[in-house]
Symmetry: D2
Subunit: 322 residues, 4 copies
């Protein structure tokens, strides 16, 4: 099922090269001011064009099909769609026989018996995250007291931003790609959000974040480093202002403690690379060379902070509406 959330529910639909894609949002309270301009800033943050991102350009103007009347949300389902204009479907035809390493070509075929839309990755495309960004804009309005900020903290293992341009230039020249890490901070959450079992804040955030294509891991607060700590090191003692060092990342027992929610997301390198790869061809029955064409990000992680923020906002809105 392609919906997420119990009180603020996001249903996503569309394909990379279909006529339109978008989201339906349920549970949006009536009376929020909302117009198409509200979406432009976050959409621009996701847009390609910067060094290390794909040259595919979309105008990406949101169309509000339902749920908005005279500049305010009505309380009815809110539908936002985007046109797919700048598509070049011919690039993708060969991947049915010879699935791209690291991509969903093989598993999509296994799941949908060959009926999936292969153009541009179809329903599996990162293109669908534009709907997530749009949902995030509405979610941020619902969670107006919270402040969401995500940024890339590492590329290809390098945490010094001044070195990233050269790293990106090098892999682009090689026809290769790089992964990265995004850190997200949410401030202004009141204590008491989340559930002790199943719907802990971490469970909901990780569920949402692992829907972003290419995520390999997530950690909260001290994260994996906590596994190497002693209790006396990792424990946050309380002060009058709250947790002393926020090693728990804002959550105890699955429930917000009033400190900032902090988590990091590991993104793999872009799967589709120009560099030659030897991989299995199901038609010929042997490994063959593959040089993927098409337009792709050398480091799609660069476009992901606003998507991670959107996921955090979607979860926060859902928790606040409970």
């Amino acid at each position: 099922m392609n919906s997420f959330g119990t009180h603020f529910r996001v249903s996503i639909f569309g394909e990379s090269h279909g006529p339109q894609l978008g989201v339906v949002l349920d549970g949006v309270p009536a009376g929020l001011p909302l117009c198409e301009e509200d979406f432009l800033e976050d959409i621009a943050r996701r847009a390609p064009g910067a060094p290390g991102t794909t040259p595919r350009k979309e105008s990406d103007l949101p169309h509000l099909l339902s749920g908005v009347y005279e500049g305010h949300t009505t309380g009815a389902p809110l539908t936002i769609v985007f046109d797919n204009a700048n598509t070049r479907s011919g690039d993708y035809s060969q991947f049915a026989a010879q699935p791209r390493p690291g991509h969903a070509d093989y598993t999509a075929n296994a799941k949908f018996d060959g009926f999936q839309d292969p153009r541009g990755g179809g329903h599996f495309s990162g293109r669908l995250t534009i709907g997530i960004v749009a949902a995030g804009v509405v979610a941020k309005k619902i969670a107006a007291a919270a402040r969401f900020s995500a940024r890339v903290i590492s590329i290809g293992g390098c945490t010094e931003p001044e070195r990233w341009p050269e790293l990106l230039a090098a892999v682009q020249q090689e026809g290769d790609s790089l992964g990265g890490i995004v850190e997200c901070r949410v401030e202004g959450l009141r204590p008491g959000l989340g559930e002790p079992f199943w719907d802990s804040v971490e469970a909901l955030v990780s569920h949402a974040v692992f829907s972003i294509p290419g995520v390999r891991g997530i950690e909260f607060g001290d994260g994996f480093a906590a596994s190497a700590m002693k209790g006396s090191e990792h424990n946050d003692t309380f002060t009058a202002e709250g947790p002393a060092k926020n090693g728990a990342g804002g959550v105890n027992g699955g429930i917000t403690n009033g400190a900032p929610l902090v988590f990091r997301v590991a993104f793999k390198p872009t799967s589709t690379i120009r560099k030659e790869q030897l991989t299995y061809n199901f038609t010929s029955g042997r490994q063959e060379s593959l040089c993927a064409k098409g337009r792709h990000d050398a480091c799609f992680c660069l476009r992901c902070p606003v998507i991670v923020e959107a996921m955090a906002a979607i979860v926060t809105a859902d928790l606040l509406l409970r």
Copy 2:
């Protein structure tokens, strides 16, 4: 809400020191052979008693209240309860005023306005994971073609098991605790399980795993290390036998590819430690010394492999029943 799963649904209830706790399982197919003995092996793996675990002992015999008739599941909801016998509730009274660092005392109070059951952590207690283990036993029967195996791969940052006894002895003497990492492998999953959006395999597994108290992070396949790789390094080329090196951990585009599902879970060190901690007392309005009493694991991660396995099995059963 305290349920998880859409086709195999686990509802959990109970408190650490209440009369009974357990689970209700919905969606169990009729006709599976099931008796109380089937639970004993996994329950024993979770039991304390080994070095580094709490001396609290429970007989932990499952009672099958419903859904089983003449040694087979009936297809109706299956209810499994356990008695709480060996409780010493007096140990927990002080934590209302002075919440334990790292524990849910503070957030539970914020969420439930002081009405939560504080005895032994109440509904937040790791004790509830016995219901998860029981659910896992049933889930493994549903997912009979899959093999689940989890083990501790690191304690306190040390990956050499022969050194763990001395590490544990040392922190126990200090009244401190250690974290650790559990790795889980699931073999025998057919390609095609999972959904492209929202209900990817990773999303469902992480949602379930973050319901285990004390989890700080999760990663699949190459995990966080993938963020430092190039595409040509991380990508799995296909061979006739499947993915060459399984850097994706068995999942592409959210969907199983037939290779083993591999993931790692970071556990924090046990929060409750005997060692003195300075923390805020909400009654006195100042930081005060706290030496937690009660019986606790020096490294509760040691008891968690079977719980992580259970969560993997719960998700797998849910996916297989779709």
Copy 3:
């Protein structure tokens, strides 16, 4: 799946002749005063013993397994179980081969491949409604501003209560049974509850009510009679006090209008009768005479008002917690 509700969720489990049966309630707010005595009045209203009802007697004391601490709800899942003491399972053995007309013997077998618990109707038994009544008691506490009242308005087509004793005596002597109609009224609902689509008040109430065994129909306000009216007759004109005659039964467009919610539920006659019936025997392959033994209500509808009230309260609590 055996759960109902999104914000106040009732999960039901158990069989007529198993060791225990009950409910798990999710979403109960913390801090409601609740003890076992609170259940006795409604449980007594469901109890058999009156003319026209089964002589089976149960002590029917609720056991609160979780979610209550020191006389108040904790906010964690609330589990209520009842013992099954007075069972005579031998009565039911023949119905596997020769299913009782009107009963679930045949369909349970089709669904669960013969693995269902046949004793006393197993999970299909009206016995399970005791859990519903218990859930209703908690729901009424959540919906404290509303008043729920249901009563039998017709038995065997007769709407004159003073004639019911003779009707009941007559069918009992014949070894036959009677149906009836229950009317339920809910006062004190504020305007604005319910959703325009899918989760209209009528949709939710009817969903819940059709889970009571033996329901054949439901209607709101003018109900089926509205289909024979003109708009000018059926329409409620508004006055300063609200709808003039409440032909809509308290709901317009799926949403409460502040007038009392009024609905009627049609119950079939008890299926199991002593009177001889000719019906198919799947073992012998021919129609054969069947005289059902066991203890049964001549008119189980007499015990249903409190169950219908409970369902109305469950839906109301769910709507109020949204």
Copy 4:
């Protein structure tokens, strides 16, 4: 929340006079042949134009936005939208102050604090049922072994179709309206569909049907008449061919028994009538005369059989995919 179904899920969105309205369908299996022509027959059955229906005309061509590729479903979410072309929004402005009797004007305002889209009934409009009809077309393809047939069996209390034209002509002349009853039959359902509790076939069908605007009641098999029967009259004895007379309407214990599913739905008369009604004006604070303008069905029930069929198909598809 504006979704229905667990395995075949219908999410509905849009307003009567917004740019577009439609549905998103989740859980559609991959590989079903589907094109826009497949929708035309059922859409034409819902279309106005016959005696007793509104003169508003829409071209009502479905646009398939996602989930279909090269004439087959892909397994991804399937989105179908319709344009709203022939709108005259000016007709509706007065109903904010003086809500139409029987209509959702008052309750929509109570729920959405005045932010609802009032044009043509907004999200509450019967116009939205075109999305239901479209969902029904897909559902019927999923439930290909079943045959769905619904028809009007009564108008204004009259069950003789040859008299309906004169009845309709009369109320139209008076500026009044009529209700009616639709009977639906589903043949070809295998035994064993449905759940004993909460998700009985009747519960799911009634939940869906009460989402159609203007429904006042539903009954299965003998329905309300069963409440006036003896057990020996209502009980279906089994024959070698199945239930003898199908008084249960194809369902025992909530589960299909292989006989046709039969149910009847009571529709109220159209609320909006030209005839003068005295009703409360919230601006003036007194009852005032109201003569509704706009284009409306004298008996909208005439357009509803295909909608009822669609709801039956939606539920059947959901049950079959479990």
